[in-house]
Amino acid sequence: MSFLYVHGGLTPAQWITLLPILILSATIVFVTGAIAIKRHHWWNATISVAGLNLALLPLFVHFWLPQLWTLPLPQTVTPLLGIDGYACFYMAMILVTALATATLSHAYMEGYNGNREEVYLLLLLSTLGGLVVVCSRHFASFFIGLELLSVPLYGMAGYLVKERRSLEAGTKYLVLSAVASAFILFGMALIYSQMGTLAFAEIGAHIGVIGGSERSVIVLGSAMILVGIGFKLSLSPFHLWTPDVYEGAPAPVTSYLATASKTAVFALLVRYFVEARAYQMPSLVNVLSALAILSIIFGNVLALRQDNLKRLLAYSSIAHFGYLLVAVIASGPLAVEAVGVYLLTYVVTTLAAFGVVTLMSSPYNDHDAEDIFDYRGLFWRRPYLTAILTVALLSLAGVPLTAGFIGKFYVITAGADKHLWLLLAAVVLGSAVGLFYYLRTMIQLYLRQRWVQKYSAPLNWAQGTGGAMVVLLMLAMLLLGIFPTPFIALVQAAGLL
């Protein structure tokens, strides 16, 4: 293997830190070959899950068994990728999310008559994009990663090609995403025109000394990048696509879209703000504040009378990313910690909620179980599944002793630390409104139903990997709420500064 170490190649330490990305890439090639050899749903899904687990292994050992072995961090692999504790934390999170999505997809796709296997391929590709995004410290890798993250998602959203709404979701996401990417590219070009560099750190080093019209061009460029990122995170006023795509996409895809893709982009946003010192441009902070307040208001108000669970979760995710922005605006080490904790709790909770929707749904029916009406009286039919959804809704609402409370508490602490009273008022008001529609949904679960429902999870829902995953997620939600200290320590260890 000595040829790997020749001049210009990577050092062993760099190879090791790249392991998650390399393993995942190999898995993609492997799954492609496996599908070509034989279409077999269980086999192909298992290979994908095994690959994801393998990619997760070094990160898992690094974080949970540090006495055994740790990754040699931080490493800069070419100017494009920087792998540090922060990147590793988010890589692990994205991989876990992808794992959850893969198992949920397996439960979901069983009922599909078309080609079931490619969804794993797309999922793995998108995950790879996510890993690249969280490791990127350069506009080029950022954009490549972002596109690698998004393009497979178009296919995934429109995966059920014969379903009108799935196809519509895919098309909408494709077209609008292209618009957003155009904004990002334009913004990068503007910044490059003034800075002559695409690396975050170099931009950050120069930003203090630049002034005058050059500075305003950079502000303009950064604002355009924010437009693109705002779209990907579905912040108001770029949120209009969210409910349509969430509703149309197959339930497991929606869960991935709501968690992994947003986590990756958000992690990047924080890194960009810290490394490229965007905090030194107050106008950008103003933009973020405006986006945060609008997102909180629009998300919560739109969810108020929503009768479709998937759309409701879409609106709630808009609001949640508004809350998260408050932490970003607060800046500082506590803010990075707050973002980590909040994203962790949000991802776990959202996956659980969509997991239940997935287990209730099957592509065999002409649409997913998404009307709140479908969930009426679920408790009397599937009490344990209902318990999971209940905990997820409580956690989304931020009720103490669930994961959501810890996240929200962190955001409020970070905001109060920096005296962001206006934003905090929005957070508090938004949470109050949020409580209404989460509880409204919850009540439906426990109503006595007088007739047989069309939609119900199969009786053996808990026997598959998808069911096990959802149960695990509920335990994680409770654990995060009751005993968050180890997780907080994990996030603190993965700090950016």
């Binding site: 609008l176 502000v219 303009l220 950008l284 933009v287």
Partner: protein, 616 residues
């Protein structure tokens, strides 16, 4: 054993969880094993932990066990720790020891009841909450346990929920104590604002440096905490709920409304002693409230006819003694009386339960009589327990604690409190033996059949033993927690005071024998005399507090409710909700589903973002 301290409250909690999950699925025998066994485990662990604590007493007199730290955000580190010192050990001993005996008795008393499992699950939850209350090292957890026991009290008073009267008694108890709880919560908020901590030991350590003696804030805090204590311990003016609370099953009355929960107020004041010492006015009022309550309760008990109500008023008056002791600065004596009271009052309630069950749920003492022969064990229990209640000199546990209180009140120069206590002791003797003579002597009115079995005899015998002078010899390890009272360790007049209070008790018993043994001619004449009849009615109505509160609070409140029937006050709030709904309507219109408009909105948003970025 000390590191197993968490088992003490975890065991009843687990019992509660198992019993409530298994409701309808587990047999009564299994429920007995779980319900009683969990308390037994807890009692054994308390015993072990107590022995270890006392043999290796830490320098600060307390053992702290951190169980769980919720999170750590900046300087905010809410943690849950248990703290065992002499005071909480005493409380734990009473709660688990007496609690175990009462549970055991209840397994006999409640057998065959439809809600047997439910009963034990509530009881276990109660014990867990009560232990949480006394063991938590944080006022927040104390408050949590405080509300927990309130909830269990509510659930158990209304245990036989099919009778609406029980439901309304439960509601009354809950609402009246809630009033006190609200005061207490405000007091805790104030305390937190002032000291920045709710950790009990920390707060008590910093308070003397932070507050000046008699300062306004600390006085306000002490009074607010007193409000909470008064509500929980059924003292004036929030005492009205306790007699009604007797609607619950008798073991509940024994455990919650005599031995443990109602003494939580005493515990609270003893726990926050430092604050009360900084607010002499509040402490003075503690004594006065205790004195007035014990007199009012004593007078009321004289004319009651329901066996449990008599005992309820006697509980009220005995807690009055404890408050009196606290007010007189006799901290240790108050806790001592708390313990002996738990013994003999539990004994009295349990034997009252035995009597009630033997007489087929008859509670009117005048419909009983001559039960001496048929129910020997309850009879002797009543004799010993009643004797302890009246503080028969040297033979009973009650004498040792009550005499200590009276002596320290006297030695501390609180002559008014001393006299009130002395007169109260006199009243106690009369009403107690009125009850005993009426129920156990005289003509037989009804057929009665005695209970049997270990679950029936064992608790009565153990409590009976503890109510004699044996219970009075227990030395409580309070020296490191509570200061010595005035006149501690004896004084010139102590024997005189003991003889005085002892003779008052004996004279009271003799008077009761004179009045209530035999034909009761004098009593009947007195009851029908022009002066006696209205006075008896006044006493019978417990000095008309229920009537007064009904006129003062309930009626005006109902009037307000009627006036506000169409919810004027909520209109303002509804307007906010309505405007959100209309905003929702407007915003929903933006979700057209048209990709063209969506793309345009992205462009519009971009213009907005750029405008904000460039212009600000």
């Amino acid at each position: 054993m000390l590191n197993l301290l968490f088992v003490v409250f975890l065991s009843p909690l687990l019992g509660f969880i198992v019993l409530s999950l298994g409701r309808g699925r587990i047999s009564q025998n299994l429920a007995t094993v779980i319900g009683v066994g969990s308390i037994g485990v807890s009692a054994l662990v308390t015993l072990g932990a107590g022995i270890q604590l006392l043999s290796h007493m830490p320098a600060d007199g307390a053992y702290t066990q951190v169980l769980w730290q919720w999170m750590e955000v900046g300087s905010f580190t809410p943690r849950f720790a248990l703290r065992l010192d002499g005071l909480s050990l005493t409380m734990c001993g009473v709660i688990t020891g007496v609690g175990f005996l009462i549970h055991l008795f209840a397994s006999w008393y409640m057998r065959g009841d439809e809600g047997f499992t439910r009963f034990f699950s509530y009881m276990n939850l109660f014990v867990a909450s009560m232990l949480f209350l006394v063991l938590g090292d944080n006022l927040l957890f104390l408050y949590f346990g405080w509300e927990g026991v309130g909830l269990c009290s509510y659930l158990l008073i209304g245990f036989w929920y099919q009778d609406p009267a029980n439901g309304s008694a439960a509601r009354k108890a809950f609402i009246v104590t809630r009033i006190g709880d609200t005061f207490m919560a405000i007091g805790l908020f104030l305390l937190f604002r002032e000291l920045g901590t709710l950790d009990i030991s920390q707060a008590m350590a910093t308070a003397p440096g932070h507050f000046e003696v008699g300062g306004n804030t600390v006085t306000a805090i002490a009074f607010l905490l007193l409000g909470g204590a008064v509500g929980k311990s059924a003292q004036l003016p929030l005492q009205t709920w306790l007699p009604d609370a007797m609607a619950g099953p008798t073991p509940v009355s024994a455990l919650i409304h005599a031995a443990t929960m109602v003494t939580a107020g005493v515990y609270l004041i003893a726990r926050t002693r430092v604050l009360f010492e900084l607010a002499p006015l509040a402490l003075h009022w503690v004594g006065i409230i205790g004195a007035v309550t014990l007199l009012i309760a004593g007078f009321t008990a004289l004319v009651q006819t329901d066996i449990k109500r008599i005992l309820a008023y006697s509980t009220m008056s005995q807690i009055g003694y404890m408050f009196l002791a606290l007010g007189a600065g006799a901290w240790q004596a108050a806790i001592f009386h708390l313990m002996t009271h738990a013994f003999f009052k539990a004994l009295l309630f349990l034997s009252a339960g035995a009597v009630i069950l033997a007489c087929h749920h008859e509670q009117d003492i005048f419909k009983m009589g001559g039960l001496r022969k048929k129910l020997p064990l309850p009879f002797w229990s009543f004799i010993v327990g009643g004797g302890a209640l009246c503080a028969v000199p040297y033979l009973t546990a009650g004498f040792y604690s009550k005499d200590e209180i009276l002596w320290q009140a006297y030695a501390g120069g609180h002559l008014n409190l001393f006299l009130a206590g002395l007169f109260g002791a006199f009243l106690t003797s009369i009403y107690t033996f009125r009850l005993i003579f009426t129920v156990f002597f005289g003509k037989e009115h009804s057929a009665a059949n005695s209970g049997h079995g270990l679950a029936y005899t064992l608790p009565l015998i153990v409590l009976l033993a503890l109510s004699t002078f044996i219970g009075g010899q227990i030395h409580l390890p309070l020296a490191l927690v509570l200061p010595a009272g005035p006149g501690e360790g004896g004084g010139a007049d102590e024997t005189k005071i003991a003889l005085l209070s002892g003779s008052v008790a004996v004279i009271g018993i003799a008077l009761a024998a004179l009045l209530f043994l035999g034909e009761r001619k004098f009593v009947k004449w007195l009851k029908n005399s022009t002066l006696g009849a209205p006075l008896a009615a006044f006493f019978g109505a417990a000095f008309g507090f229920d009537w007064l509160y009904d006129k003062l609070f309930v009626q005006p409140f109902l009037w307000l409710v009627r006036v506000n029937k169409s919810d004027y006050l909520d209109r303002a709030i509804m307007a906010g909700a309505g405007s959100l709904q209309s905003l929702n309507g407007v915003l929903t219109k933006t979700q057209t589903g048209r990709i063209r408009w969506y793309a345009a909105s992205v462009a519009l948003g971009a213009v907005l973002v750029i405008a904000v970025a460039v212009l600000s």
